[in-house]
């Protein structure tokens, strides 16, 4: 237990936090006992404690300041709603060009699709060549022989070749 050379400077550094709890009546058990024992032998801490207790009395005597008026709550909520609306409007403004572009793209795609369907359905079909008409009539059906006319032997094969003029062309 040491004596402080200057009582006003401070209490023992290691006891300051405990003394604060002591002033705030927030100390119990073994810690309270150790502080009480220390105070019994330390005049510096006793004086510092008295000063702190007096300071606490001074400050606690008056209580808290007046709160906000009754309209505070509603004013806050009104500001919040206004800010929310502003934010929504800002968000809409930001995305507007993208939305507009998206609609244009969709319209273009729809138009292209309509043209494609029209083309496929009618107008385009007229331009396509009639395969049945343009199919060459003199194409040999040698490689897809009529089963009824299938040659039965080697002579018949030679005869068919001679009839169709194959071999010379």
């Amino acid at each position: 237990m040491r004596q402080h050379p200057d009582f006003r400077s401070a209490a023992c550094a290691q006891f300051e936090a405990l003394l604060e709890d002591y002033v705030a009546a927030d100390l119990g058990g073994a810690r309270a006992k150790s502080v009480t024992e220390h105070l019994a032998g330390c005049a510096g801490c006793r004086e510092a404690l008295d000063e702190a207790a007096a300071g606490a009395r001074l400050l606690r005597a008056v209580g808290p300041a007046d709160g906000p008026g009754p309209a505070f709550n509603r004013t806050v909520m009104a500001r919040i709603y206004a800010a929310e609306q502003e934010r929504t409007a800002e968000r809409a403004t930001f995305w507007q060009p993208f939305v507009s572009l998206g609609w244009r793209f969709a319209a273009t795609a729809m138009l292209a699709l309509a043209i494609l369907i029209t083309y496929e359905a009618g107008w385009g079909r007229r331009l396509q060549p009639n395969l049945a008409v343009v199919r060459p009539s003199n194409v040999s059906d040698l490689f897809s022989p009529d089963p009824e006319r299938a040659p039965a032997n080697r002579d018949e094969v030679l005869m068919m070749l001679a009839e169709n003029n194959h071999g010379n062309n």
Partner: protein
């Protein structure tokens, strides 16, 4: 600004919050409702915390005229940021931190220090405060309390800014050491030590004003705003 939308007024009156069984809902439940888009839940949070936020802002800005505006701004910021609040800390802690930051932003933007009263105390005030300290005689009437409070705030103004804030918020506004530590980003023990020392300092400041014979330089208080 004071006009409240009808839909909001209705929601405030009939606060039919989901999951409300009549018992008082905890802050975290209200926060969760806010995060899912129930504005009425935030209104309840404002109602619960407005007194302390107001006290906190008033304590830091020294009761300037902008206290109400800054306090409203605190709630607005809290509302806009509540979806990002992960509830790892208590809602009140998070809210008070916003309030402290908002106050410092305000002071920085204005480039002024809070209002400082440079006048000495009147003899009446000195004797009143002496009665509180020596005779344990607290002021009785509201007017006496108001006068004592003004005098104490004047003494507080002579202390370093952090001492002043800690004492005012702890002893006059009722914040706990834990709350102060969290909102000012300080260790709990550091807050205790600073509070203890600040109490000694305020008594020193008080005694400096109470000259022997009770003579004091009594003149009307004039708040001044000092440029930083």
């Amino acid at each position: 600004m004071s006009d409240v939308p009808k839909t909001m007024a209705a929601s405030a009156q009939t606060l039919a919050l989901p999951g409300n069984t009549g018992a008082k809902q905890e802050d975290w439940e209200l926060v969760r409702l806010c995060q899912s888009g129930t504005a009425a839940a935030f209104e309840e949070l404002v109602r619960r915390h407005q007194q302390r936020v107001f006290a906190l802002v008033g304590g830091i800005l020294r009761r300037s005229q902008d206290v109400e505006d800054v306090a409203q701004q605190v709630f607005l910021k809290a509302y806009l940021g509540i979806r990002r609040f992960d509830q790892r800390a208590a809602f009140s802690t998070w809210l008070y931190k916003i309030a402290v930051n908002e106050c410092w932003d305000y002071l920085r933007k204005r480039k002024v220090r809070p209002l400082v009263y440079e006048a000495d105390l009147s003899e009446e005030q000195v004797s009143q405060l002496d009665g509180i300290v020596s005779a344990h005689r607290p002021p009785e009437s509201p007017s006496q309390r108001a006068e004592a409070r003004q005098a104490i705030e004047r003494i507080l103004d002579t202390l370093p800014e952090q001492d002043r804030q800690l004492l005012l918020l702890k002893e006059m506004e009722g914040f706990s050491v834990q709350e102060l530590a969290e909102m000012l980003d300080l260790n709990v023990n550091t807050v205790k030590v600073r509070l203890f020392r600040a109490r000694g300092r305020i008594m020193q400041a008080f005694r400096r004003r109470v000259k022997p014979g009770g003579k004091t330089g009594a003149r009307p208080a004039t708040p001044t705003e000092r440029k930083r």
